[in-house]
């Protein structure tokens, strides 16, 4: 423990740790909204907590429960969520060259892999030295995991006690998705994929089973085949 806390006297390390924990707090509030929305969509408190603990990738969890809440099939709910989780694969690739210095031995890498998500990748790759990258990855990963799961539990318990329709909570999912979508609209390709994805979904909604239009919308990523 002493070895772990000693580097905190280093101002650069302290800045990285503070950034990670601030982000963790924000994510905890996000977890709170997931907890409320997930039980409103029909999951139990245990199932909601299991999603945050074992799946641990926000957009996929939100997506799965949004399809379940709309009455879609579980296969469709799984499909959309799995596609969203696929971006963690890209993050794993981005982190792969630092895997040795960040996580070392195989058992440790097996453990570290659970924390490969948007925020840990962003904060780790923003650091210049392997040592800071390692500190950023682990403090962000463990901090986020703790806050995300605590937030989920509190939200799930609170969500059980309220009427979601009356409080307008059916808009909680899309409102959260809008916030998550915004950074992806910075590039031209991102905007094209978003417009096409939204359109494909709305066009197919009336004649395809619930949940499938989300999968159809993923075809919009093919705009990435063009090189510009």
């Amino acid at each position: 423990m002493k070895r772990f806390f000693a580097p905190l006297t280093d101002p650069i390390v302290r800045r990285v740790v503070v950034a990670s924990l601030t982000l963790g707090g924000a994510v905890g509030v996000f977890g709170l909204s997931f907890g409320v929305a997930s039980v409103s969509a029909g999951a139990s408190v245990w199932q909601t907590c299991a999603l945050s603990f074992f799946v641990f990738t926000g957009a996929s969890q939100f997506s799965a429960m949004s399809v379940v809440g709309a009455g879609g099939s579980l296969v469709a709910a799984f499909g959309g969520a799995a596609l969203l989780a696929a971006r963690n694969f890209v993050y794993g690739l981005a982190l792969s060259s630092s895997a040795k210095s960040m996580a070392g031995s195989l058992p440790r890498r097996i453990f570290a892999a659970h924390f490969v998500i948007d925020e840990t990748t962003a904060l780790a790759l923003a650091q210049e030295s392997p040592r800071l990258r390692k500190i950023a990855f682990w403090t962000t990963g463990i901090g986020l995991f703790t806050f995300w799961n605590l937030g989920t539990l509190i939200g799930a318990l609170a969500g059980n006690a309220i009427d979601p329709q009356k409080l307008g909570l059916d808009i909680a999912f899309p409102a959260a998705f809008i916030v998550m979508l915004l950074p992806h609209l910075r590039t031209k390709l991102g905007r094209q994929a978003a417009v096409l994805g939204g359109a494909l979904c709305l066009i197919s909604i009336s004649f395809l089973p619930i949940g499938i239009p989300i999968l159809i919308a993923s075809c919009a990523v093919l705009v990435g085949l063009r090189n510009d």
Partner: protein, 106 residues
């Protein structure tokens, strides 16, 4: 709302947890530092844009298989404005829910 059987939902949660983990572990454990084709990277990177937009469209403008315009459009509009002004997520969600609830009481 038709809720799925709890045990079926558990199956989906387990399958999703396993799938998400496989995606995450690939780069750290299997791949080392090999590279994939650029175009593959680019398409995978566009998944959130396409899927999140589709989810927003579905959750705002449909009930089941029917396209509808209802109180959620008010919440949607408020959420877009709030997110655009860089409000934190919880503020966006609360404002959107408040707007939707308010329109429902009219």
């Amino acid at each position: 709302m038709i809720n799925p059987q709890p045990q079926h939902l558990w199956l989906m949660i387990i399958a999703l947890a396993a799938t998400a983990y496989l995606f995450k572990m690939f780069g750290l454990i299997v791949l080392g530092s090999r590279q994939l084709p650029k175009v593959f990277d680019r398409c995978l990177g566009l998944i959130p844009a396409a899927l999140l937009a589709a989810l927003v469209a579905k959750d705002t403008f449909s009930i089941g298989q029917t396209l509808v315009i209802d109180a959620r459009v008010a919440g949607f509009t408020v959420a877009v404005i709030a997110a655009w002004r860089r409000a934190p997520l919880i503020v966006v969600v609360v404002l959107a829910a408040g707007a939707t609830a308010l329109v429902r009481t009219l």
